[in-house]
């Protein structure tokens, strides 16, 4: 097999990228657990662990640069390496949103007097599912699966609109909750961004497989 060594390096690189995805997924789940339970220690962990996500991202970036410099990749190899570079950044930013939720948990503290809006856990579950799906579509080079990532994005956006609407209503009815409600607005924003970045990852999968660059919207089935 020609270029067996290079192939192995590419496989390892992708495995590490998936590993980074798993770290980010855990951070999101943990941050939402911390919020649900008002668990400051857990929130602190999320914030502290974000450094590891950042480090991993730079490690991946360095490996990509090394392979580009030493292997002069072309065609699908080049597209794969560029996609890994981009996706690592997307994942790192998703990690930052989880960290942001962790920080908000620490600000809210143990106060359970203001209830967490019910849409937030659902948005988080959907965001995590989108992340998993986008990375699976990368591993399988499956553009149909990548297309499906967008399906949930509209739902997440709708939930985001709903939660914002509800929070604004609550603020008007009960001005005492404004401060806490503002924090929840931030959480909703972070979760909405997580879902958006999952679609960015899916966009990169389309690029790896087809070479297509630019904003992508999957073809919708008419029903």
């Amino acid at each position: 097999m020609v270029r067996a060594d290079f192939d192995r390096s590419l496989e390892e690189l992708e495995a590490e990228l998936i590993g980074l995805g798993e770290m980010v997924e855990k951070a999101i789940v943990k941050s939402m657990d911390a919020l649900a339970r008002r668990d400051l220690a857990l929130a602190y962990e999320v914030v502290a662990e974000d450094d590891q996500i950042d480090e991993k991202r730079f490690e991946l970036e360095e490996k990509c640069i090394n392979l580009i410099a030493t292997q002069q990749p072309l065609a699908v190899d080049l597209r794969t390496l560029l996609a890994v570079l981009h996706i690592a950044v997307e994942l790192e930013r998703m990690g930052d949103y989880a960290e942001g939720i962790g920080k908000i948990c620490m600000i809210i503290g143990e106060d359970e007097s203001v209830e967490t809006p019910q849409q937030l856990p659902q948005m988080a579950r959907m965001g995590v599912a989108m992340l998993q799906r986008s990375l699976k579509s990368l591993m399988d080079r499956d553009t149909d699966l990548a297309d499906e990532v967008w399906d949930s994005d509209d739902e997440v956006d709708a939930l985001y609109d709903a939660v914002c609407h509800q929070i604004f209503l609550d603020m008007g009815q009960n001005p005492k909750t404004i401060e806490a409600a503002t924090h929840f607005l931030w959480v909703a924003h972070d979760l909405e961004r997580i879902a958006d970045r999952a679609t960015n990852i899916a966009e990169r999968v389309i690029f790896v497989v087809t070479g297509r660059i630019g904003r992508y919207k999957p073809p919708r089935e008419l029903n």
Binding site: V2, R3, Q72, P73, L74, A75, D77, L78, R79, G211
Partner: protein
């Protein structure tokens, strides 16, 4: 692209050495004032194809050409075409620099003298050396032997020699394979400059070179049943980032060949 943008076109071109086929049924369009690269594994017929463009294959007794090569619409293999005339219009630079064992000046003046050039020869020599990006390095020693130059300088001298007869097309057969990386980059830079006024066809084994320097790339392949057939032809940026044919993909990513 419109037809008139092509300076060279092959139609159903096949080449045989005795009964052995080296190029099979190639249709290729070479764009004017652009660089077209021909890539492919060893023995795929790329040099043979290149040599069809100025009838260098005529010099190999066993070679036989079928199909057409059109040069601005003129059939290069037509009965009334003089291959020597063609080689003034379509010059060639080879793999190893091959200056004549003469002075730098005489190397460049050689073609025009044979041609019976009547104008200012010194001026033509200077212009050719300037165009080949060699003038500044040799202007004070034009009477020195060409063999005293470095490999990279010798190759640029050969390019100057080709330019001196004012061709329209320059064919290059692995022009950098005997040169170090710096001399290679100098030749590539020169090629890009020359492509403003000349049409260039280059055969290269160096994929990165084809990607760096050429506007269009043709990928030729050899299989058990077929030799020297065109697999894919297109803009280089497309070929090297997202080729259409999986055989092209496998070759340029180094998975075979």
């Amino acid at each position: 692209m419109q037809d008139q943008d092509f300076i060279l076109q092959t139609r159903g071109l096949s080449v045989y050495y005795d009964t052995k086929k080296a190029v099979t049924d190639v249709d290729l369009d070479v764009a004017r004032n652009r660089i077209t690269a021909i890539i492919g594994p060893s023995g795929c017929g790329k040099s043979t194809l290149l040599r069809c463009f100025n009838r260098m294959n005529d010099l190999i007794p066993s070679a036989r050409v079928e199909g057409q090569v059109l040069f601005d619409g003129l059939d290069l293999y037509g009965h009334d075409v003089d291959p020597t005339e063609i080689r003034y219009e379509i010059g060639m630079v080879f793999q190893r620099p091959n200056p004549f064992p003469k002075t730098i000046y005489d190397n460049v003046a050689f073609g025009p003298r044979i041609n019976g050039f009547q104008g200012n020869l010194a001026e033509l020599v200077e212009r050719s050396l300037v165009r080949a990006a060699l003038w500044d390095e040799v202007k004070d020693r034009l009477n020195a032997s060409a063999l005293s130059l470095s490999g990279g300088q010798q190759q640029r001298l050969c390019i100057a020699r080709a330019l001196a007869v004012e061709p329209r097309v320059i064919l290059m057969d692995e022009p950098c394979s005997a040169l170090d990386p710096i001399a290679t980059l100098a030749i590539e830079e020169l090629m890009r400059e020359l492509s403003e006024d000349y049409s260039i066809v280059i055969v290269t084994h160096n994929m990165q070179q084809a990607a760096r320097v050429s506007h269009y790339t043709a990928f030729l392949m050899v299989e058990e049943a077929r030799v020297g057939f065109l697999v894919e032809f297109g803009e280089s940026r497309q070929i090297f980032t997202n080729p259409e044919d999986e055989r092209t993909e496998a070759y340029i990513t180094g998975r075979f060949g």
